[in-house]
């Protein structure tokens, strides 16, 4: 072998080695983070964590019952707001894919997706907190909803485009109106995928802190009143993490473990569901 050929081979192997090393390099922090969250979190996780209210400073124990319920309510509100807008605008983008307005909507969705979450918080503060002079769960839900819309819209669009055109044409040929064809034939065919997209959107939004900091704020007490400030897991973890108390740090790790568990569970469910979907459509 000439030296030139040898050098080319060497460069190539180094390159392949670098690529493999990059994968490892990315997986190391992942393993580190999961390791710490699990080991630190498990120590402080107990039944109390889910059923008790936060303990006052200096008292050990306590839980995040109010924050867990708060998070569920806030994400629920967000979904309530985002699902209809997201799905219907997704339908528009896929059904009228070639039109100029569809491109504008798509651009708006991608833009919205790229708006930093803290900026969404500032916006909602301006439209839903300032005018009422009141932090509220509704404002928090609105902020989360705004972040969910583009995710739902884009996944709906992409999944509807996967439905074979012949199905839509068949319905239309039978005399169905466009709306009927879409809602009774096209959407049901793509429904498992759309729901997967929803689950992923929920997973992403459940972990958001920044848009809640000055919309739903935080609340030391249990509340289901939507016009009052409401606690959430993420904001509570932030408050505890930035406090100087050991007990609160432990609570923060437990909260982080619960958050990571929710996110991982959602991702896994979505992954299994998509795999089923892919095998279905390949038949």
């Amino acid at each position: 072998m000439t030296t030139r050929a040898r050098r080319r081979k060497l460069v190539s192997s180094l390159f392949v080695g670098f690529c493999g090393a990059s994968v490892l390099l990315a997986l190391v922090p992942l393993a580190f983070i999961l390791f710490f969250v699990v080991t630190q979190g498990v120590q402080s996780l107990s039944v109390d964590f889910f059923t008790h209210m936060p303990a006052p400073v200096g008292e050990a124990g306590g839980g995040m019952a109010n924050a867990i319920v708060g998070s569920l309510i806030l994400v629920g509100l967000g979904a309530l707001f985002a699902v209809p807008i997201g799905i219907l605008s997704g339908i528009y983008m896929s059904e009228y894919a070639g039109t100029r307005f569809a491109s504008i909507v798509r651009f708006a969705a991608d833009t919205l997706n790229g708006v930093p979450s803290i900026v969404v918080g500032v916006f909602v503060y301006g439209v839903a907190v300032l005018p009422f002079k009141q932090f509220s769960a509704l404002a928090g839900g609105l902020a989360l909803g705004i972040m969910m819309i583009p995710i739902i819209a884009r996944t709906t669009e992409e999944l509807l485009l996967l439905v074979p055109g012949t199905m839509r044409e068949g319905a239309l040929a039978l005399g169905a109106t466009h709306a009927r064809a879409v809602f009774t034939v096209v959407v049901p065919a793509a429904l498992p995928g759309i729901i997967t997209g929803l689950v992923l959107a929920v997973a992403r939004i459940a972990g958001e802190t920044a848009p809640l900091l000055f919309t739903s704020l935080n609340n030391r007490f249990f509340t289901t009143n939507l016009t009052q400030p409401m606690s959430s897991l993420t904001v509570q973890v932030y408050t505890y993490a930035s406090s100087p108390y050991q007990d609160w740090h432990r609570q923060a790790w437990a909260g982080a473990l619960v958050l990571v568990f929710i996110v991982l569970a959602c991702s896994l469910v979505a992954r299994v569901a998509t795999r089923k979907l892919v095998t279905l459509s390949s038949h």
Partner: protein, 315 residues
């Protein structure tokens, strides 16, 4: 054949599409409206004033703009090569059975909430960075990049955590972009006797606009990242080149000071920082989409033409 019901369907769904467009416009307008006091008072000097002193009513955004750009550029300098390496490894070098596993694992990095990164940052990364900084050789500390006491909290920790968070975004888009490179191109290269390195760099070169788009997309993510950064960067509005120095970012100052803003001018100045952040991310993201689209569109259009006839033609 036009049917009124079909027009109603089009208008009805189009109305929801309009909501998205209006939302984007409303965010921009509202940010301008809510920061008007500050815009009027400081004008363009807001962008280049270094002093941020709420007590004295002095507001300049430069330290935050600097901190945001510096931390994001550092993060991308670390993350971009790694993300491209991952994209190449998964799309070109991995057997198809292992592929989904690697994709899932790298995408988990994107799924972990920012607050969890921050928590890990405070209690694990920052102490580690602090001991690294203490152990730094004195000769290097003379450089402006490594000057100052080793706090741990500071630019280095922020850049590292941002790099980890940005990798999955850039690598997943880079993978998509590599998919758009025609297979024949690689086969041709191999047939001519190219090594893997030569064939893959040719593919990367072919996909260069999309690759730049992927890197910009990661950059856009880094610019707006809030919680993890504010928890490790030290939150000090001082311009510095030093990686060891506590600094601040636009997103971090919003998270920190928004609920403390006690005068209208203070609040307006903070919201104007939000506006600046909005405008910068808008530009970066649009540019990145444009580059990615220009790369991925030819392939997608071909696929669309064969598998999904446009709904329009059916009506």
């Amino acid at each position: 054949m036009k049917r009124p019901e079909n027009l109603a369907f089009r208008l009805g769904t189009g109305l929801f599409g309009l909501v998205l467009v209006l939302l984007v416009a409303a965010i921009g307008l509202e940010l301008v409206r809510q920061s008007w006091l500050s815009i009027e008072k400081f004008g363009l000097s807001f962008w280049r004033t270094q002093v941020w002193d709420p007590v004295a009513g002095q507001f300049g955004a430069l330290p935050f703009i600097w901190g945001t750009l510096y931390s994001s550029i550092l993060a991308l300098a670390i993350a971009a090569p790694i993300a491209l390496g991952i994209a190449v490894f998964i799309s070109e070098l991995t057997p198809s059975r292992v592929k989904p596993v690697l994709v899932f694992l790298t995408e988990l990095l994107a799924a972990i909430p920012s607050i969890v990164y921050g928590l890990w940052g405070i209690f694990v990364l920052v102490p580690a960075v602090r001991s690294l900084e203490s152990a730094f050789p004195d000769a290097l500390k003379a450089l402006p990049f490594f000057s100052g006491p080793p706090f741990g909290l500071g630019m280095l920790s922020a850049a590292l955590i941002l790099a980890v968070m940005v990798v999955p975004f850039t690598s997943s888009v880079a993978r998509e972009v590599l998919k758009a490179v025609p297979l024949a191109q690689r086969e041709g290269a191999y047939a001519l006797g190219a090594t893997r390195f030569e064939a893959i760099t040719a593919a990367l070169y072919y996909a260069r606009t999309g690759i730049i788009g992927a890197i910009l997309l990661g950059f856009g993510r880094a610019l707006g990242e809030t919680m993890a950064v504010t928890m490790v960067i030290g939150n000090s509005p001082k311009l510095s080149l030093s990686l060891f120095a506590p600094q601040h970012t636009m997103a971090a100052v919003l998270a920190n000071e928004f609920s403390e803003a006690d005068t209208p001018l203070y609040l307006n100045a903070l919201i104007e920082i939000g506006l600046v952040l909005f405008v910068i991310t808008l530009i970066v993201n649009s540019l990145s989409r444009l580059l990615i689209w220009s790369m991925a569109r030819p392939a997608r259009q071909q696929a669309a033409a064969t598998s999904v006839p446009a709904a329009e033609s059916a009506i």
